[in-house]
Each structure stands twice: as structure tokens, then as C-alpha cells.
């Protein structure tokens, strides 16, 4: 097992400085800023490992049904508005860029610049979720919300509306279609939840950055929220093809 720790000194090495000599930002349980930074970074990576397993579980379930209901999933993906996913991918990538710039500035000790780019990241995140909300509304209006009335006229519809209702899925593919849209909402919903959790934290860190809390030696929170945000971004990079790009061929019917 290789030695990984920084603080493992050989016996007889100089004693650790007493705890009361506190550099700015050093928590009481750590010996020095380097140890603290390494701990924070490892902590975040461990957390991301948890996240990978979390999304991994739902993607596994997705894969099972994608195999089982390939045709329904293809129809489902064509019912998504592909350019919405495309634009959102771009928006999110830009937010990752601004996040990276924020971390870069934090590293150089530029607090207010860091704050500015963090706020831009948040704004892009909000744009992403706005577009997402528009898409949710669209899918809702198409009667594609999973549940009992999936791809059916609403329960209070008039006889005429029922007669005019155009089903998106043939009867025998409706179950597969419902499952596709269930996964659509679960996966994008969990993804959006991660953004909703991230945004206030970014704002808090931006405020602290503006205040000048961070130094060139201590800016772990900026770096770690950056890791988190990039992770959220990468999840989307997986979700986009899984949900939107299954089958872009035009509606040629089945054969």
C-alpha cells in the first residue's frame, strides 16, 4: 500500500506546530493548510464516487428498459425537442467554463473576479433550468407525464377532445413509452436537484470570495464547488444522448 498522506513523518521528525498558530482558514482539526486542502479534495472526490453510484443505479435501470423497450424509447426520444437538449448542453458547458475561470481566479487570489465568474455560473445554471422548465411544461401539455393518464386525454376532457386526441404511442408501446418518460423525469429531475442544491452554495462562496475570505493558499471551497459543478455538467453529458439522441432518424415509421 503506497504512502499517500502528507503528514506521515518519519519518527523523530520535527513536531507538529501547536494548534493555536492558526493560518487564516485553517480548521482546528488540521495541522496545516496543505493537509486541510488534501482532506477537502479527497472528501469531495469520495462524495463524487457516491454520486457516480447514485446515477449509476438509475442508469442501470434505464439500460434494462432501453433494451426491453427499444422501439418505445426511440419514439420517446423523438418526442423530446432535440434543440432544447442541444442548447442546454451548450449552456451548461459554458457554465462549466465560467466555473473553471472562477477557480483559476481564486487560485490567483482575485476575490471579486472569482465572485463575478461564480455569479455568471449561477446565472447560466438558472438559464439551464428555465429552459428545462419550458420543456417540462411542453411535455406536460403533450400528456406525456408518466402516470395513469400518460398519453391519454385528461380525465375531464370533453367527448370531442377525446375523439380528437392523438396518441403518441401505439397501444402496445405505451408501457415502454411511460417508462421512458419516467426515466426522463427521474434523471433530469435528480440532475436539476443537484443544480438547485449547488446554486445557493455557489452564491454563498461567491459572497465569501467577494469579502476576501480566500487566499492563494486557502480557496478549497471554490475548488471543491468547482469539482461538484463539473460533475453535474458531466452527468448531463451522459443524460443528453441517453434521453435525446436515441434515434434522430425522421419518423419513417417502423419499416
Amino acid at each position: 500500500m503506497p504512502e499517500i498522506t502528507a503528514n506521515t513523518a518519519l519518527p523523530g521528525s520535527p513536531p507538529i506546530p501547536p494548534a493555536h498558530e492558526h493560518p487564516r482558514g485553517l480548521a482546528h482539526q488540521f495541522d496545516d493548510l496543505r493537509q486541510q486542502k488534501e482532506a477537502a479534495t479527497l472528501g469531495m472526490w469520495t462524495f463524487l464516487a457516491t454520486e457516480v453510484m447514485f446515477f449509476g443505479g438509475v442508469m442501470l435501470a434505464y439500460a434494462v428498459y432501453r433494451g426491453k423497450y427499444a422501439e418505445a424509447f426511440a419514439i420517446g426520444s423523438r418526442l423530446e425537442v432535440w434543440w432544447i437538449g442541444f442548447i442546454n448542453t451548450g449552456v451548461l458547458l459554458c457554465s462549466s467554463l465560467t466555473m473553471a475561470i472562477a477557480v483559476y481566479n481564486a487560485n490567483r487570489g482575485l476575490g471579486s473576479k472569482t465572485a463575478r465568474y461564480l455569479v455568471m455560473t449561477v446565472l447560466l445554471g438558472i438559464v439551464f433550468m428555465g429552459i428545462k422548465g419550458y420543456e417540462y411544461a411542453h411535455i406536460y401539455n403533450e400528456h406525456l407525464l408518466p402516470g395513469n393518464s400518460f398519453d391519454q386525454p385528461s380525465p375531464d376532457a370533453t367527448a370531442g377532445q377525446i375523439a380528437d386526441f392523438e396518441h403518441k404511442f401505439p397501444d402496445s408501446l405505451r408501457n415502454g413509452g411511460r417508462i421512458f418518460f419516467s426515466f426522463y423525469f427521474i434523471m433530469t429531475g435528480i440532475h436539476a436537484t443537484h443544480m438547485i442544491v449547488g446554486i445557493p452554495i455557489i452564491l454563498l462562496i461567491a459572497w465569501k470570495a467577494k469579502k476576501g475570505t480566500y487566499t492563494t493558499r486557502y480557496y478549497d471551497p471554490v475548488e471543491n464547488i468547482g469539482l461538484y459543478w463539473h460533475f453535474v455538467d458531466i452527468v448531463w453529458i451522459f443524460l443528453y444522448p441517453l434521453l435525446y439522441l436515441i434515434d434522430l432518424s425522421s419518423h419513417t415509421g417502423m419499416h
Binding site: 519518527p11 479527497l42 457516491t50 453510484m53 449509476g56 428498459y65 408518466p146
Partner: protein
């Protein structure tokens, strides 16, 4: 028996005599407890939480055993009984066993064992306690408002479509508690990686740290998968999304895969920490380095790793393919190897040791015996042709109680006794402790051994009523459960008693070598008076100064 020459740099701690501040008396206000970031105080908070849930779960267990005293369902109605065993399982697994050793003993001991002032993320640690309590509150609300009757396994489509009980609320409770588990594991991983004292290399680490490390890996990597599975069940109940509902094209077996992917390794979350505790106890009370230390350390990691690939052995009769069954069975047998290695190494450590049969050692020896039994009966279940007959019978119930109660709880109680002087600064009373340990061992075997037999005869688990020919075994089981209950109540009494009347503990009452004993009992808030440095491999008893060896055991240990 010879006494080795005293080495150049003895492990020696001369406790600073009182008056002094320790983590307990530094502040008495309730706020100082509820907002504490001290890992030791958080451990105490956890201790209160899990003791509460242990009592709740224990009451459910007694109700179950009383009902099963007679073949007819005469004490409880069928659905009440179903709720009893469901809530017994949920409370005991998610709110007692999983947090027990890691969150109580681990929280207290891990930072001290690595020689740190605290865990890497103290505020996160406090947050995980609140999350645990929040999850507990959800679950308790579900229970008092009518309960849940799906079994702790939540099999779909019963849980997701057919049950009329509070499944969603309970699912939220478990989901929330899962995060507490994840955050605790994360904290341990980072602490063990980054905060070890100078000189404490990986292979100088006490075995408890190795087992906690392995446990934490499972917590971090397994828990999220069951979290998502439970989210899907909840969504299916609320919105009819159809993912596990065959009537809507879903696959109920997929749930079982997701569930057991976590819940099988979760068994190792429960038993690995106990193994770590047992290693510590055996080393200290034999004054020996654990035989084959490196292999024992690595076997913890091996168990954690292999444990992730055997979940399908819960599903041999679910209709999964023959070949899946073969592979899962084959892999399951490989968990037996590291477990066997541990048992043999512990036993070998006793050979020519200097053994003190104090209460923790009673529990450790009880653990080895019961865990061996539990592990070997696991071979029945891993074996395909045998599992077809015994799965979902009382054989299974007996087997996993041997692991979880005979294993995990014996280890937990052993650990509580072993570290009690460190945690409270008081010695518990040795005589009642030994009586309780003995009662627990007897009561446990009487409760669960007959269940192997009645299981093989074919009594299915989760039965409220059963054919009369099974009664004799059930009577034995209920009798044993009564003894077990008494055995569990006694420690509650004398441990509380010791808080006020117990003999004051010295810094190192057992003559142990690990770092947590090189600071006063109870420790100061910052754990160590000066930062420790490690210059010895783990369990080097020859490095103990004769004062430490001699000072704390006047005569026999049993004179408490």
C-alpha cells in the same frame, strides 16, 4: 512465559491527575451538546439515538416472539404482526445495526486511534447525526401513524402497488438516513487517509481502522444504489410510473437486484466493524499482535470488495437464469475465505498469549463462536441446491441473526465495554457484566439455534400462523428470546450505574497499545495533550512500560 526486556522507547502515558477539563465537563449546557462538533460528543449523541432505536426494535422482536409462541395467530392480528416484523427489521437494520459501531464507537475512537484532534469534517459529522435523527423521525411518524407492512426488503410490486400502508414515508426515512451513513463513511475515509499521526503508516494501523475503512467504502459506494431504488419505489407509489410494476410493463425483479446490491454488502457494514473491535480486544487481552496481521487487515478489504459481487444469491428462486445463479453462488463462496482466515488468525493469536478473561474478551470469544456458526450456515445458503429449499424459511432468519446479532451485536457490546473507561472515565462492574455476557450467549443460542431446525423442516419466514408441528421449536425460541432480553437489560443498568459509582478509570486500564489509550480518560476535547507520534508497529506490547503493564490490574480483573 517470559517478560521481554524493556525497549528503548516505551509506550507510556502518565495521566495528568485531575483537576482538568475533559470533553464531558468542559461545558454542561444542552446547547453545547446539540451544537457540538466534537466527535466524542457526537458519538454520545449517536449512542443515545441507537440505544433508543434498539429498545424500540427489541420491543417489536418480543412481540413477534410472543405471537409465535402458539401456532394460532392469537395475540396480534395478521396485519399487525406483519407490521411488527417489518418495523423490527427496518429499525434494527437501518437505525441500529448500520450506525451502531461506526457511528458510536467509530466516531469516538477513529480520530483518537489515528492520533488526530477530530475527524476531517466535524461539522459534517454533526450534520450526519441530525440527518440520522431526521430519518428516524420520518420513520417513527410512519410507525405511529399506522406502520408499514412490506418487510424490510420492500419487494415490489407489493411495496410499490399493493400495500396500503405508509411505504412512502418510511422510504423517505430510510433514504434520508442513508445520507447519514454516506457522510459518516466519507468522513472516516478522509480521516484515515489524511489525518494519521506521524509514523502511523498503513500497516501500523490498528485493525479496527482497517475494518472501519473497509466498511466506509461500502457505505459510500453501496448506499446510493439502495437510495435510488427506494426513490423509484416511492415514485411508483405516488405517480404510477410503472418501473417495477409488471402491469405497466415494469420488472419487479429489477428492484431486487438494486436492493440487494446494497443490502448484501450492508451485512458487511454491520459485521466488519465488529471484526475490527474483536481484533482490538483480542490483541489487548492476549497482549499479542494479531496473528497474520497483514492478512487480517487485507481480508477486511477483500470482504468489502467481494461483497459487492454476490447480491444475486438472494435470488436463486426468483427465476433468474441458471447461469446467473451459478456465478453468484460461485462468487459467494469466496466471501467465506477471508472470513475463515480471520477466524483462524484470531484463534491462533490466543496460542501462548497472556490472556485476561475480562468482559470484552468474553464478548470477543462469543463473537468468534457465533460468527463461525453464522458464517458456516451461510454456506448452506450460497449452495444452490440447498438454498432452493431453505431460502425464505426460518433457516435464513437464524443464519442472519447469527451474523447480525451473534456477530455484530456481540462485537458492539464488546466494544462498548472495552472503550467504556475511555468514553466515560469510569470502570463498569465486572461481575454483572460477565453474567450479562453469559446470559446473552445462552439466550441467543436458545433463541436462534432451533430456528435452523424448524427452517429446514419448512417453516417459512414472516408467518403469523404456522402448522402445530413447528411449535416446539418456537417455544424454545421464545424462551431464549426472554433470556436474551434480560441479558440486554442488565448492561443498561450497570453501565448507567457506573457513570456515578464506577471506579475511576486510568488512562490505559487494559494496558493497550493503540493511541486512544495514551491520553487521559475521559479525553480532553482536543484528544491529546500533545500530538502523538507512532514509532512502533501495531500491538507491540513489548514496548509498553512495566508501569503501564503492572499498574492497572491489581490481582485479578474480576474484582471490579
Amino acid at each position: 512465559m517470559t517478560t521481554d526486556p524493556i525497549p528503548a522507547q516505551p509506550i507510556d502515558f502518565d495521566p495528568v491527575e485531575s483537576p482538568r477539563d475533559n470533553y464531558l465537563n468542559v461545558n454542561y449546557r444542552i446547547k453545547s451538546w446539540l451544537l457540538t462538533v466534537d466527535h466524542k460528543r457526537i458519538a454520545i449523541l449517536y449512542l443515545l439515538g441507537i440505544t433508543f432505536f434498539f429498545v424500540i426494535g427489541g420491543i417489536f422482536a418480543l412481540m413477534i416472539r410472543l405471537e409465535l409462541l402458539t401456532p394460532r395467530g392469537d395475540l396480534l392480528k395478521a396485519d399487525t404482526y406483519n407490521k411488527m416484523f417489518t418495523m423490527h427489521g427496518i429499525v434494527m437494520v437501518f437505525f441500529f445495526l448500520i450506525p451502531s459501531i461506526p457511528a458510536v464507537i467509530g466516531n469516538f475512537i477513529v480520530p483518537m486511534m489515528v492520533g488526530a484532534r477530530d475527524l476531517a469534517f466535524p461539522r459534517l459529522n454533526l450534520a450526519s447525526w441530525y440527518i440520522y435523527i431526521l430519518g428516524g423521525v420520518f420513520t417513527m411518524i410512519a410507525m405511529v401513524s399506522g406502520g408499514v407492512d412490506t418487510g424490510w426488503t420492500f419487494y415490489t410490486p407489493y411495496s410499490s402497488v399493493y400495500s396500503n400502508t405508509h411505504v412512502a414515508l418510511t422510504a423517505i426515512g430510510i433514504f434520508v438516513t442513508g445520507f447519514s451513513s454516506i457522510l459518516t463513511g466519507l468522513n472516516f475515509i478522509v480521516t484515515i487517509h489524511k489525518m494519521r499521526a506521524p509514523g502511523l503508516t498503513w500497516f501500523r494501523m490498528p485493525l479496527f481502522l482497517w475494518s472501519i475503512y473497509a466498511t466506509s467504502l461500502i457505505m459510500v459506494l453501496g448506499t446510493p444504489v439502495v437510495a435510488i431504488a427506494i426513490v423509484l419505489v416511492g415514485l411508483e407509489r405516488l405517480f404510477n410510473i410503472g418501473v417495477f410494476n409488471p402491469a405497466l410493463g415494469g420488472d419487479p425483479i429489477l428492484f431486487q437486484h438494486l436492493f440487494w446490491f446494497y443490502s448484501h454488502p450492508a451485512v458487511y457494514i454491520m459485521v466488519l466493524p465488529s471484526m475490527g473491535v474483536v481484533s482490538e480486544i483480542i490483541a489487548t487481552f492476549t497482549r499479542r499482535r494479531i496473528f497474520g496481521y497483514k492478512i487480517v487487515a487485507l481480508s477486511s478489504l477483500a470482504i468489502a470488495l467481494i461483497g459487492f459481487f454476490v447480491w444475486g444469491h438472494h435470488m436463486f428462486v426468483s427465476g433468474q437464469s441458471l447461469y446467473a445463479g451459478m456465478i453468484f453462488s460461485f462468487l459467494s463462496f469466496f466471501v467465506a475465505i477471508p472470513s475463515a482466515i480471520k477466524v483462524f488468525n484470531w484463534t491462533a493469536t490466543l496460542y501462548k498469549g497472556s490472556i485476561l478473561l475480562a468482559t470484552p474478551m468474553y464478548y470477543a470469544m462469543g463473537f468468534i463462536g457465533l460468527f463461525t456458526m453464522g458464517g458456516l450456515t451461510g454456506l448452506f445458503l450460497a449452495s444452490l441446491g440447498m438454498d432452493v429449499h431453505v431460502t425464505d424459511t426460518y433457516f435464513i432468519v437464524a443464519h442472519f441473526h447469527y451474523i447480525m446479532v451473534g456477530g455484530a451485536i456481540m462485537g458492539y457490546l464488546g466494544g462498548i465495554h472495552y472503550w467504556w473507561p475511555k468514553i466515560t472515565g469510569r470502570m463498569y462492574a465486572e461481575v454483572p457484566a460477565k453474567i450479562a455476557a453469559f446470559l446473552i450467549f445462552i439466550g441467543f443460542n436458545l433463541t436462534f439455534f432451533p430456528q435452523f431446525l424448524v427452517g429446514y423442516l419448512g417453516m417459512p419466514r414472516r408467518y403469523h400462523e404456522y402448522p402445530p408441528e413447528f411449535q416446539v421449536y418456537n417455544v424454545m425460541s421464545t424462551a431464549g428470546a426472554s433470556i436474551l432480553a434480560v441479558g440486554y437489560v442488565i448492561p443498561l443498568v450497570y453501565l448507567l450505574w457506573s457513570l456515578k459509582y464506577g471506579r475511576r478509570a486510568t488512562a490505559n486500564p487494559w494496558g493497550a497499545t493503540t493511541l486512544e489509550w495514551q491520553t487521559p480518560s475521559p479525553p480532553p476535547t482536543e484528544n491529546f495533550l500533545e500530538p502523538p507520534v507512532v514509532t512502533h508497529e501495531a500491538y507491540d506490547f513489548s514496548a509498553l512500560s512495566p508501569e503501564v503493564l503492572a499498574g492497572h490490574f491489581p490481582g485479578s480483573a474480576s474484582k471490579a
